[in-house]
Symmetry: C2
Subunit: 267 residues, 2 copies
DNA sequence: AGACGCGTTTGATCTGTGTCAACGCTGCAT
DNA sequence: ATGCAGCGTTGACACAGATCAAACGCGTCT
């Protein structure tokens, strides 16, 4: 089935199409013409409704690899829909320790952490040259109150984030190193699939250290788990290029309980 | 300073006031008369607006200790504001492992996980006899679109949940056992304070195993950390009764980096 | 009063992952 | 070409926390 050979593994390095070196803002966004409708905020809206969204989402912003989209503590004004590219979010503790709290790709929404305290509680950094649609939050709320479908869908998007966080907690709280990495790879695979890229072959945009930070592991442990998966024939690793050879085996790692929960065999 | 001697450590066991053994529903809710306004959904609403809320939040539901408020997979219809009592939420994996994802107390909102897939993704269980206000979600959205302040505040509540999840990830991903427990105790202390109870003395509603599950530790490790804190004079533990003796010491555990990040001394 | 059960504490030992260190690969700059 | 810097891999060893096991405290039931 996966007749995909080299289906561009996510947008190639052509700096997102435009030749003009616009620093920011001036780009006109247009949900109605965007191929991410199915994944993004417009999901479930009618043609007419999407056109009303267009007026709200009026600007885009380019973020170069390594640059921040926003930083902890800056006033919250807008949420962002990723038009193209790849981001990480991370939180920094007073003592210098930090943790990657997520990786976000095209069609996903960034910035909802900022609503509650009216300033952002994490950093969002581009892991490759990226572009986001700026959605001024006050205007989104205005439009939401006029469009029930938009309001409802936005609630779903926020709720989805809460559900995602639950599974990260599960991962960090109960899984062993190899399970965590398997879960991570399967999750990426699935999200790439949803975007029309290959489920079995992709480029990691983040370093081993960033993966480790997200998974609550040290980079050496991540590296060893990759090596082990390769030895077992589950995947082929070449630097940041990953090919999944045995999806079922990875899935089995997650469901097969490697720690035979003892409270099942006593009476 | 803490002249509080035995400031009722959360609602006493008088089964929540009413003598009538109403099983459920029939109770009339009334945000306008509730002393949790400052913490709960009505926060920031005017008198008149709160009265409009009353019509929406029309029923309450009692949940006895050990009973479920909702279970994974059941259709999502309402969110719940905790009127009195104490809950945990947990997620169950296919292989039987589970993880407590949170503990919730009076004034906090339960059930927002269900919005995204229209069915709940975790279990909510009462850890003591409790009572919740049922907030039918469709009606909440309806009223939200008519009341911008309510809409905005609800967004803040959801965002607060996302922010909370971030700090749990930080806890699970980067902290050592004793730091986790310290963070846990400080968090409880702060939330009890916000509800008018003593910051320094409280009853844990959950077992060591549930604490461990939440913190990504085994119950023995939790127990040992409690003992250690007691030896050090940070707290006094007697079963589930906790007295904080040295708040500053607990806080110091969190900020003092016990793992001297090495990348600071090379140039 | 005595017995049972559940939750908790404490000790002894094991192990997965962290830590420290060396080396290899790749791409960029000189 | 050559050197350098950043990232990744691999090995040896250490340690925090898991696991296994025993005993205790407290409440409930008979």
């Amino acid at each position: 089935m996966t007749q995909i050979k080299r289906v561009s593994e996510c947008p190639p390095g052509d700096d997102l199409g435009n030749v003009v070196p616009l620093t920011a803002h001036s780009l006109k966004a247009a949900c109605s013409q965007c191929n991410l409708q199915e994944l993004c905020l417009p999901l479930g809206l009618s043609e007419a409704e999407i056109q009303r969204l267009d007026s709200l989402v009026s600007t885009r912003r380019k973020v170069k690899r390594g640059q921040h989209l926003y930083r902890t503590g800056v006033p919250f004004e807008a949420i962002y829909a990723i038009k193209a590219g790849f981001f990480k979010t991370d939180v920094l503790m007073e003592d210098g320790r930090d943790q990657v709290t997520g990786f976000q790709m095209a069609g996903e929404i960034l910035g909802m952490d900022g609503i509650s305290l009216e300033s952002h509680t994490c950093n969002a950094v581009a892991l490759e040259d990226s572009e986001v649609c700026v959605i001024p939050f006050a205007q989104l709320e205005q439009l939401s109150s006029e469009m029930r479908t938009l309001q409802h869908h936005f609630h779903k998007v926020m709720s989805r984030e809460i559900v995602r966080d639950q599974s990260v907690m599960m991962l960090l709280g109960t899984m062993r190193a190899e399970e965590r990495l398997a879960a991570f790879l399967l999750n990426l695979s699935q999200r790439f699939t949803a975007r029309g890229y290959s489920a079995a072959e992709f480029h990691l945009r983040m370093t081993r250290e960033e993966i480790g930070s997200y998974l609550g592991l040290k980079l050496e442990t991540v590296s060893r788990a990759f090596s082990r998966f390769q030895e077992e024939g589950f995947i082929a690793v070449q630097q940041k290029h990953i090919r999944i050879l045995d999806l079922a085996a990875l899935k089995a790692l997650l469901t097969h309980t490697p720690l035979p929960t003892p409270h099942s065999s006593h009476g």
